[in-house]
Symmetry: C2
Amino acid sequence: MNSSASTKERILTAAEALFAQRGFEGASLRQLTAAAGVNLAAVNYHFGSKDHLVEQVFKRRLDQLNARRLAALKQISGLPETTLEDVLSAFIRPALDLSHDGGGGLFMRVLARAFAEHDDSLRKFLSENYGHVMRQFTNEFARLLPGLSKEELYWRIDLVTGALTHAMSGFGIIQRKSDVSEVTHREQTAEHLIRFAASGLRAP
Amino acid sequence: MNSSASTKERILTAAEALFAQRGFEGASLRQLTAAAGVNLAAVNYHFGSKDHLVEQVFKRRLDQLNARRLAALKQISGLPETTLEDVLSAFIRPALDLSHDGGGGLFMRVLARAFAEHDDSLRKFLSENYGHVMRQFTNEFARLLPGLSKEELYWRIDLVTGALTHAMSGFGIIQRKSDVSEVTHREQTAEHLIRFAASGLRAP
DNA sequence: CGTATCCTCAAACGATCGTTTGAACCACTC
DNA sequence: GAGTGGTTCAAACGATCGTTTGAGGATACG
């Protein structure tokens, strides 16, 4: 029972990397199982089908990401001294951290692909596992931007989401210089994103 | 189908729609030629291969888009009274117009997929047909935002690109209300995008 | 030891993929 | 009317896809 968990995890990790690199349809189960060092039939044995594997790849990282984002939001939600930058930090930093210590550096690319896909079943799965988090953040944004109409707020949150997804999935456009540490670079990236998004949200 | 159009054009139009809907790998030549009402072998006869078809789908729309963007930029480039909003307008409105009168409403979705794909040959083709336009806009942005370092400017332009691509491909998140015309709705969309992007670029 | 349960494996399944082929068709020239 | 060049057609090609199968290995418990 424990040896199967190892096989499962190896499939998930290999799938995450290959989906990020070649897409959901572009990555075949034969490439995938070869990279994971497991038998071809192991995917259908442990996950039932390729579609269920895709869902589980999402679920493993989204559970981490959701938990961290909600924990960060909880600490500042509703407080009178909370700023827009604080809320954006709670939204952005968990995603950047996941790229580093979760081993899920490639997950943001997978997520960007999911946005590009307009597949209905995948979108439904994402909204079920993602919707309640976005709703809480939206409420907090609304509190801190009382001048915005609901329509304008939705527009701008959508634009922020697009900017962040694009930036975090396309890592490497702005390369880390050799004289700054990984942690420092991540901090600078977060500040760039937060400053841009906060200013965009506050637009007159 | 439109039997008056040439076989080549019918293939390009059907391919654009199917690539937007199912992706480059997800759309098969058999679905594609059936939708276009042409023989399966016509794709390889007229385009050589599926990959070349993908490139031509991009080329047909990008040529339009580039020409309109550069024409709009030329009218305001270098003038002392030009604002950031003017440059963004020259960048954004041609893309929105293409969605309407070019019949290429689906092209922005295809473009968003291309960003998600990290396929090297496709990226190379895009930079060859797209790079000089982005370079001219970047120069103009730099002139209007003298306080920004080169690194910061690249960062923010990348974020703007992500926001716009996401918004224009995801058309329909903000639905047009029945009491506003198509033209009015497009105008409102452009104003939303420009206001957000300008404010983000001007961030302290 | 026998047996039950979970897992892995090589092999094969039918379906679908992009591409190629060679004959047929069509408008046009000499 | 024979010939020519461009185009369309049905059919087939080999490759690869996700999935299934049935035999065999590994481990734990009686």
